[in-house]
Amino acid sequence: MKNGSRIKAAALALAAAGALAWAAGAMAQAKEIFIPALVYRTGPYAPNGVPWADGFIDYLKLVNARDGGINGVKIAFEECETGYATDRGVECYERLKSKHPVAFSPLSTGITYALTEKAPGDHIVLITAGYGRADSVDGAVFRWNFPMMGTYWDGADILVQHVKKKGSLKGKKIALVYHDSPYGKEPIPVLEALAKKEGFHLMLLPVTHPGVEQKATWLQIRQQRPDYVFLWGWGVMNSTAIKEAIAVAYPRLQMYGVWWSGAEPDVLPAEQAARGYNALALAHSAENDKPIHKEMMKYLYDKGQGTAADKKEVGQVLYNRGMLSAILTVESIRTAMKKYGNGVMTGDQVRWGAEHLNIDASRIRQLGVDGMMVPFHTSCMDHGGAHSARIHTWDGSSWSYTSDMYTADYKLLRPMVEESAMKYAKEKGIQPVDCSKEK
């Protein structure tokens, strides 16, 4: 009878699904270090997520292909699709935990917040290069978070420093068009503090996820005529913002994006019309002629092993950033190996490595990324290490640097970082460690 066969089919399907779900994944090889990648290749944030993921995975592949691993220990890696959604990020984290990962790079401030609750208990490092919690610079409270290369508070301060150079900000108006999420809201405290200090008026214009509805935002900008617009968007929101700016004839020269709002997927849809748009460059831009890129070609793409669908993606802004994130992860592991020996590292050991990371100019040259990174070192007090960035501008077909390197003003930012970190410690009942006693 029809019902009977239907029941059988359903029962079989359910049983199969259950059995498959029960299997907790393949075991990681004993002599391999597992580095997972939480990425998004689908959804509204995919245009920006894909090049980052490609750069990240490519570097891990390169280390395996060119060096045979980190000091002889091969890297095992796996991607997990999160779609920029926090709960999927948490689910990926839980699923990949059983393979003993040493470090996660969630590429999402929202997921970082959620994982900050879990990673310390699981002894897993969170390397959030260029994103994440700005207050996690304070390593005394956030033992397992490493916002290397720069945080959003750094970025906000640097942008204000840059526009201040064009003339005093007293009485001027700066609009912040931001993604209505933890990522977009991070810079607000710093901008408000700076507004008080420098005397400019701050306009806050939130844009709801995913960010395609910005007509009202930009009509407001047209009417209020702010002197500068800071863009803190991600994914489709960036290109939409630039298109709407063109539609209300707001001069692109007065627009400044954070380093996640200044890449090819954001400006290419508008191409020539986006000319003059500026963005922060997290020490690097769209270089594709450095030694590292040549090695990518030699070891991966010429052999058809590259992750990116199109070779031209190698060297784009977000590809470089993903690559640098992977470099920082690998270097942290290498630093750990210097102390603990060349074996499979544990989370605690990699944490030590990340906290004692020292990338000087000669190492940068050795890595083949000269000119894409500033020398820095991390410490218990400062889990970020570097707090520098410069400006690059789109000229219609490519990015070029239009400023010197700035460093964030930690006289202003450090008290804010510590205050926020203390508040978190109090809420969670964490006892901050004494950094002077840390080795």
Binding site: R41, T42, G43, P44, A46, P47, V50, D180, L204, L205, P206, V207, T208, P210, G211, V212, E213, K215, A216, T217, L219, Q220, R222, Q223, G235, V236, S239, T240, K243, I246, A247, V248, A249, P265, L268, P269, A270, E271, A273
Partner: protein
Amino acid sequence: MSASARNLTIAFFALLAAGAVSPMLFQGVRFPQWLEIVIGGLMSGVLYSLVALGLVLIFKASGVFNFAQGAMVLFAALALVKLMAHMPFAVALALVLALMVALAWLVERLVLRPLVNQEGIVLFMATLGIAYFLNGLGQFVWGADVYTLDVGMPKEPKIILDKFFEGGILVSSEDVIAAIIAGLLVAALAFFFQRTSTGRALRAVADDHQAAQSIGIPLNRIWVIVWSVAGLVALVAGVVWGSKLGVQFSLQLIALKALPVVILGGFTSIPGAIVGGLLIGLGEKLSEVYLGPLLGGGIENWFAYVLALVFLLFRPEGLFGEKIIDRV
């Protein structure tokens, strides 16, 4: 309708109109600035109506609330962009149209026919399933990048009437062209429904599936026709939206906005979709620009729904919809 309901409707619109002009009275906004926002709002409203049109069409003819309309818009736009890379615009357009007709036929065969005369909620859920499916298929075949759809629409805005008003009034020529296209489409559809026999058959089917079938109207063919027309509307909406915003996955989330539009205009009325769209677009933009800053911004996400909610409380069938009669 009853006097009290009519009075309430008038009161509602009077309140809306008062709210619309209040920025000029209370916030010192000058007329040209206000007019700019009004024009911007009306233009974006037209874009919503384009999507709502497809919804209304399918509801009118098959009683199904097609949640997959947004996915269809996205699907059509993606197909068009990808085909335009290999062939001229007109040929690509024709091919995509054929694709949408094929899609309509598939949907009717695989989804609608087995579910004939099921409850509304079941059909609604089925279209939700279709939406997810089209979503996955579109991204699978064509990827998740933002694609530029260049149909030659002007991007730079026009400043008009700058002799009368200082600074002039900003009007987006792209939006004006979109409005004209929408107007033509509505006129064509209205003619189709009122004057042709197929249109009459469609209305019969909307009224009662079984009755229509019993008098010999070929249900299946009618559904294929109506979903194809909705596909055409989705294609036009996709071209207009895609040209404006770029074609990407998130385009289909705009379809959710079409819900308040059809509520305001009435589920079964084509002019209602246009009027509802204009009202929603207008209300949204005015509220976001003038009310938003008082509340911290970002209110346009829920304003349209709250507007629809308030409207529903005293006129559930919408402005032009048919009155719902409950029979025991």
